[in-house]
């Protein structure tokens, strides 16, 4: 038996905060073999990143390793003097981070930044370092490496920046790479390219990798061994097939259930024991009654376009219709115009051309800045992407939900208002005691609920959801998705679901529209569209999603991707 490259034994990390000491990691024990790719999975606050930071000694000054050892080839990392550790850092282990653009120096050409990393560890001439840089840029498959050497980070896309980060991380041939959410925030197609590259580089160089991620699917696709963490503890360690087929720990069961896959249905998102309640909702709901013939569609968008002064149009020729109670997905990568489209439909920005009919009535002619006076304002509401940013920091949860009621439903402060707000809170599963809290005193999931409660307060008929779960943990996402689906069924609410997460859209939406560069490339029934995409771009999108079918998990790590 070989000695592990990295061995973490009973690691405890404590942060001193305003409320006293907080234990972020409580007794993690794990080992990484040379050349292995280990997945470290957990939701926010699980201590997965802290474990990574402790290993590379990049912990925030408030954090301290209070107990346990981190052995790198038998040497305890936590006890090495700073000077010696710097030599180890980079050459032995290095780290890449979630937001690559923020990790690069914006005013220094990327070639120089890579060379800096090389020169800080190796003695060589600038000329040699520059040649080495070129090799690294080739290794991370950046096209035109000679030209890119002098590019600045803002001239590169997010995926490119992450490749540059990888180049810096591998510049000194580390034995261990810690990748902390390396593809979060990247588009799925970019994610696939970056991950495949990472796997290839690790395989070529025999480098061990710890992939820290919240995405169970991603870890399952790329790692042979996955470790699940919850609240600072390691709860389960298994190969991904076993983890998906027979999760042992209650938390893993919940996590596996909550991760949407290509085949999951909305009721599958909770564990078997919890499913009963939701099935009851499904049973009680009836398919929306067919409207009498001749009724105009709830939403009819014709030839919508948005042009800005500079650059190509953000959206052109966008047309769609929606019936009451229907859910439609709007899918596309960043820059595809999906957000612009959703804002136009919500009448928050003006379209350059085109028509929007709501209930057969044109609502596009009223400028967006006047639309708050329109009687249709309360019929079209929106749930915003980041719950942390969508609530006014100076409003309590109660004020947030009450605000549209005061403005649009003509309620006045008093008992009726309080009742209606509490009713909305209950519908979204927000405990009424929390209504007096301010946004920063609520968790991400609670904030998301406040955002949804606010949007449904005036009983809208069309709800636009702009990446409503992108910033949430999967278990919270599962609950929020079920909540939305339930609202749709119970209130006959139409949902326009804007998202880049194909698994979520496939599950939530009857129909899907795929956008690219501002125009529709494909539209149709979700199931058909995802199973049998006709357009080349749609096919690429669908294939880039990490595949984890329960029961037939496919592992690609190492073997396949070269």
């Amino acid at each position: 038996m070989t000695t592990p490259l990295l061995q973490i034994e009973d690691l405890h990390v404590t942060f001193s905060t305003r409320r006293g000491l907080v234990e972020a990691v409580r007794g993690v024990t794990l080992a990484v073999e040379p050349g292995e790719m280990l997945g470290l999975v957990g939701e926010s606050g699980s201590g997965k990143s802290v474990t990574g930071f402790a290993t590379t000694r990049l912990l925030d000054p408030a954090g301290r390793v209070t107990k346990g050892r981190i052995l790198y080839r038998g040497r305890d990392v936590t006890k090495i003097p700073d000077g010696d550790f710097r030599a180890l850092h980079g050459a032995a282990m290095s780290m890449i981070f979630q937001n690559p653009r923020a990790a690069l120096n914006p005013i220094r050409a990327i070639g120089l930044q890579i060379a800096d990393a090389i020169l800080s560890h190796k003695r060589m001439s600038k000329q040699a370092a520059s040649e080495e840089t070129l090799n690294l840029l080739r290794a991370v498959q950046i096209r035109d490496p000679e030209k890119r050497m002098s590019a600045y980070p803002h001239e590169l896309s997010g995926g490119m920046c992450q490749r540059v980060m990888i180049a810096i991380a591998i510049s000194c041939d580390p034995m261990l790479l810690i990748a902390d959410e390396p593809t979060t925030g990247l588009d799925v197609t970019t994610q696939k390219v970056v991950m495949d590259l990472l796997v290839k580089i690790a395989a070529d160089r025999g480098m061990a990798t710890i992939l820290i991620t919240h995405d169970l699917g991603l870890a399952a696709q790329y790692c042979r061994r996955v470790v699940v963490m919850e609240k600072g503890r390691l709860v389960e360690e298994a190969p991904p097939e076993a983890l998906f087929r027979h999760p042992q720990h209650a938390y893993t069961k919940r996590l596996v259930a909550a991760s949407p896959t290509a085949t999951s249905r909305i009721e599958d998102l909770v564990t078997d024991e919890e499913r009963g309640e939701y099935l009851a909702v499904l049973a009680a709901s009836q398919p929306p009654a067919e409207p009498p013939p001749g009724t105009p569609p709830l939403l009819d968008v014709k030839n919508l376009a948005k042009r800005y002064d500079q650059g190509p149009p953000a959206v052109t020729g966008f047309s769609m219709t929606m019936k009451a109670g229907e859910s439609v997905g709007l899918v596309g990568e960043s820059g595809s115009g999906k957000t612009t489209t959703s804002r136009m439909i919500c009448r928050l920005i003006d379209a350059s051309e085109g028509e929007i009919l709501f209930d057969g009535e044109s609502i596009g002619h009223l400028p967006a800045r006047e639309f708050h006076r329109s009687p249709h304002r309360k019929n079209i509401q929106i749930v915003f992407q980041d719950p942390n940013e969508s609530l006014n920091p100076r409003f309590s949860a109660f004020d947030c939900i009450a605000h549209p009621l005061l403005r649009l439903s003509g309620l006045r402060p008093g008992n009726a208002l309080r009742q209606r707000v509490e009713e909305c809170a209950q519908r979204v599963g927000l405990p009424v005691e929390l209504l007096s809290r301010f946004p920063h005193q609520l968790s991400g999931g609670q904030k998301a609920r406040v955002g949804i409660a606010r949007a449904i307060a005036c009983r809208p008929r069309l709800l636009v959801l702009d990446e409503p779960t992108a910033a949430l943990d999967v278990s919270v996402q599962a609950v929020v998705l079920q909540l939305l689906d339930r609202l749709r069924r119970e209130d006959n609410l139409a949902l326009l679901f804007v998202s880049h997460d194909l698994n979520v859209v496939r599950m939530m939406c009857d129909r899907t529209i795929v956008l690219r560069n501002g125009s529709i490339v494909e539209a149709g029934e979700s199931r058909a569209l995802f199973e049998n995409p006709r357009d080349q771009y749609t096919r690429e999108l669908v294939e880039a999603v990490p595949h984890i079918d329960r029961g037939q998990t496919r592992i690609v790590a190492g073997s396949q991707s070269t």
Binding site: R18, R19, R343, C346, L348, R369, E370, H372, R373, R377, K378, I380, Q381, I382, F384, Q385, D386, E389, S390, L391, N392, P393, R394, F395, H403, P404, R407, L408, F438, H440, Q441, G451, R454, A455
Partner: protein, 282 residues
Amino acid sequence: MPSATLRHTAWILRGNPLTAVAAFGVMILVLIAIFGPSIAPYDPIASNVSEALLPPSHAHLAGTDQLGRDTFSRLLVATRLDLVIAVAAVGISFVLGAVIGAFCGYAGGRLDRAVGRFVDVMMAFPLFVLAMAMVAALGNRVENIVIATAIINLPFYIRFARAEVNVRRNVGWVEAARASGEGNISVVLRFLLPNVLPAMAVQMSLNLGWAILNAAGLSFIGLGVRPPTPEWGIMVAEGARFISTGKWWLVAFPGLALMLAVLCFNLLGDGLRDILDPRMRT
């Protein structure tokens, strides 16, 4: 939740004792401004030539000036005038600047560019000279010092509010407010402005010190407040004539009063931001 606010304030002050000291200093200043005339041991403008130019003693804590007036009493009485000028000037420039800046930052476009260039032009003038010119043109009165100080401060507030609002104009809760039926004007006034207040409070606090200096400076060169009204700037100006003959107290004590007042306001600034920002609370 007043008790929560108090607890939060207490927590901030514990972590930052200088803020507490500054707040205490500002409180004393305000008390002196209110009660100064009634606690002053002597009449600040009654001259008594037999006691002219006495050094600090028990009877005259800060000595007397060339007319035999008690410097300490004059210092106490001057506090009100100096604070009123500073607060009024900063108040005016804050209210105007915040509103103009917020609308520019939110609207963008032509209005924003026009106001932006105007601000640039204003800031290109030496501000103190501008204030001098204004007081000279408008007339040598206290109100005009206030107006001049307010106007030369305005560009900073406009820029500040513009920048703070500009980064927030497309944030989720602003769009949410519009989706909830708010028009643009109320989005700016009821949503954006309250959220940039904490940052602006810091600016205001720093500015108060600066405004006091500005008013004193104008008086020092003979504009604005006129003798025999007690005012720190005039007192320094009058005392300066005697400094070569060793009558240091005539300049030192008003100078010290000015310095302490400015220092207190500046130190208060940082602590204030932490106290006012709801996100710092838990």
